[in-house]
C-alpha cells in the first residue's frame, strides 16, 4: 500500500494554491462542466438555440436603437458585427460572475457534505460557459465572412488565430472577479444584491455600446487597468474587424490588472473556503 498521509491542521499560508489537488480532481472538474452543459437547456424548446438567439436579439436591438436612433458611432464598422464582438465578451464575463458569486450559497448542501477543492466549481464554470462562447464565436465568424464577402470589411485574417489568447485572459479575469464576489457573498449577503447591479454597470463602463476610441486618450491606460474588460472587448473587435486604437501599454495594463485581481481572488476565496461551511 502506498503511504498516503493527510495532515489536517489550520493552514497559515496566504497563498496555497494546491494545484496538485485540483489536478487530482480533474475528472470531477470535467464532469461538473459536462453536467452544466447537459442540464442548462433541458426542457427548453430552443435548447442551445438560446445561446445564439440572445446575442442576436441584443445585437438587433442595439443596432436599431443605439446606432440607428441615437446615432452613436460604431467606429466605421458594420454595427451588428461591432456589437456582437462586445456582447460575447461581456456575456461570458457576466455569466461567470453570476454563477461564481453564488457558488457557496448554491452549493451549500454539497459543500457541507463532501470535500473537494472548492475552486473546482468556478473553474468548471469557465469550461461550460466556454461552450457557449464557442458557439457564439461561430456565429460571429459567419457574420464576418458574410460582411467580408459583401466587401464591408477586409474579411477574415490571421488575427482570428489570436482570439483564443483573448479568451484565456477573459476567462482569467472573469474567474478572478467571480472568486472575489463569491467569497464576499458567502460572508456578506449584501453582495448578492450587489452582483446583478455590478454586472449591469459593467455593460456601460465597458465599450460594448460605443467604441474604445470614445475614451479620452489620456485616460485609456488607466481605464485598461481598472477595467481590463474594456481592452478585451477592443481586442476581440481587432481579431474580427481589424481596427483598433489599442496601444501596447494598455494591453500590458490589462494583463497586470488581471493577474493582480486573480491573485487577490484566489487568496480571499481560499480564506473563506476553510471555515465558511460552519457559518453559512
Amino acid at each position: 500500500m502506498t503511504e498516503l498521509i493527510t495532515i489536517i491542521r489550520r493552514r497559515r499560508g496566504w497563498f496555497d494554491l494546491k494545484l496538485s489537488r485540483v489536478w487530482n480532481h480533474r475528472d470531477l472538474l470535467l464532469l461538473f462542466a459536462m453536467r452544466d452543459i447537459k442540464v442548462r437547456h433541458k426542457q427548453t424548446l430552443l435548447g442551445p438555440g438560446w445561446l445564439v438567439l440572445q446575442p442576436l436579439v441584443w445585437t438587433a436591438v442595439f443596432t436599431a436603437t443605439i446606432s440607428g436612433v441615437a446615432g452613436v458611432s460604431t467606429g466605421n464598422q458594420p454595427a451588428p458585427l461591432f456589437y456582437l464582438c462586445g456582447l460575447i465578451v461581456w456575456s461570458y464575463f457576466s455569466q461567470i460572475i453570476f454563477t461564481t458569486s453564488q457558488v457557496f450559497i448554491a452549493n451549500e448542501h454539497l459543500f457541507s457534505k463532501v470535500y473537494f477543492p472548492r475552486i473546482i466549481l468556478p473553474v468548471s464554470a469557465l469550461l461550460s460557459n466556454g461552450v457557449a462562447l464557442l458557439i457564439q464565436f461561430v456565429v460571429i465568424l459567419i457574420f464576418a465572412v458574410a460582411y467580408g464577402w459583401m466587401g464591408k470589411i477586409d474579411g477574415l485574417s490571421w488575427r482570428i488565430l489570436l482570439f483564443p489568447i483573448v479568451v484565456v485572459q477573459l476567462a482569467a479575469f472573469s474567474l478572478a472577479v467571480g472568486l472575489v464576489l463569491g467569497a464576499s457573498t458567502a460572508k456578506y449577503r449584501d453582495m448578492g444584491f450587489m452582483t446583478p447591479f455590478l454586472v449591469q454597470v459593467s455593460m456601460f463602463v465597458t465599450p460594448v455600446l460605443y467604441p474604445f476610441s470614445f475614451i479620452p486618450e489620456r485616460y485609456r491606460t488607466l481605464t485598461s487597468f481598472v477595467n481590463p474588460l474594456a481592452v478585451l472587448v477592443e481586442e476581440s473587435r481587432w481579431c474580427f474587424l481589424g481596427h483598433s486604437h489599442l496601444e501596447a501599454n494598455q494591453v500590458i495594463a490589462s494583463v497586470l490588472s488581471t493577474l493582480a485581481v486573480l491573485a487577490a481572488g484566489v487568496i480571499v476565496y481560499q480564506r473563506v473556503e476553510r471555515t465558511v461551511m460552519d457559518t453559512i
Partner: protein, 379 residues
Amino acid sequence: MFGRGSDTGAQISRDEFYALRDITFSVPAGKVCGIIGRNGSGKTTLLKVLTSITEPEAGEAILKGRIGSLLEVGAGFHPELNGIENIYLNGTILGMSKAEITSKLDQIIEFADIGAVLETPVKRYSSGMYVRLAFAIAAHLEPDILIVDEVLAVGDAEFQRKSLAKMKDAAGEGRTVLFVSHNMAMVRQLCDMAVYLESGTLKEVGDASSVIDSYLAVAAPRQTTRARVGTEDLWGELRIVAAGSEAVCDYVKFGGDYDFVLRLGAKQPFRRGVARVHIFEQEGGLISAFESLAEGVDQFDFSQMIEVVFKVRSLGLLPGTYTAGLALYAWGEEEPTLSADSCLSFDVVAATVNDAYWPYLREHGIVRLSHSAELRVLG
C-alpha cells in the same frame, strides 16, 4: 489514524464557542470505530474536520491512507441527469476517478438492482430507487479510511442488510472505518471500539461495548412519563396515562391499556398539522410510530391548545425500558416543524394478563405480536 486537539489559547469572541476541544484518540488500521454522543456533542463537527470540510482552529489530525467519506448518500446527484451520468458524477465527487468507476460500473449497477431505469433522469425515480443507486455507488468506494455518518439507516430491510454486510466487508478487508450513529445496537454490532463525546470533549474511548454501556447509563432520558418540548410559540407535551384516567402513570404494564396523549399548543394558528409519536427501544432503534393521519385523524388546524390521543390497547411491548418521542408536521412538509426524539423514557413491567402471570421477558424480543397457541394431539 490519530487526532489531537490542543489548547493554543486562540482567542474567540463571546458569540463563538468551541464545538470540539481537546480530543485525542487514535484508531489502529483495520478497526471499526463508532463515534457516539448526544445531539450537539460534536460528532458531526469531528467528521467534518476529519473529512476537510471545515478546518480546525487548533490541533491536528493525521490520516494514513486514502480517505473516503459518506456523510450523505447521493451527494451531488443532479435530478436532470440519468442514472449512469449520476453514477459518474457522484462517484467522482466521492473521490473515485472516472476510470475506476468505469471498471466498477457493472458491479454498481448490479448492487443497486433498480432494473431498466438507468437511462431515465433520476428525478423520475422513487425515493427508494434513488437511495439504492446512491448507496450502491458509495458501497463501491474503496478507501483505506472510510468515514460514515448514519447513512445506513436508509432503504428497505433487505437493502439495509446488504449495506451492513458491505460495511463489515470493508472492515474485514483491513479498511479503517469511522462510524457516527445514534443507533447503539448497530454500533455494538459493527464496531470494535468507540469514542464517546460529550459537549465537545472526549468522555470515553475504548472497547465498543463498555463505552456504549457508559453512554447508555448517562444518556438515557430521565425516567418520566411526561415531557414537554418546544418554545412558547409552539410546544408539544407527551404523557402516558392509563386508558380513561387522567393521572400520569409511573410505569407501564405489559398488556395494559394506555393513552399516549400529545398536547400541542401554539401562539400563531398552526395549519394542517399531522402528529406523530415514535417509540424507540433503549438502543435507539425505532419500534413503532403512531401517526394521526394514518389513524384517520384529518390534518388539523389549531392555535392555543389541543390534544391528540393515541389509544393503545393491550400494549405489546415486552418488559424493558423504552423511550418515546413526538413530532409535529405541517401536511406535505418533509421536515417536522417540532420534533423531539426520545423526550420521555418509560419502563414496561411484567404483569398479570387474564389473571395469569405473563412469563414473557425481554429476551423473548421487543414486542409480542398478538397470537394464541393450541395443542393438537394427532392419532
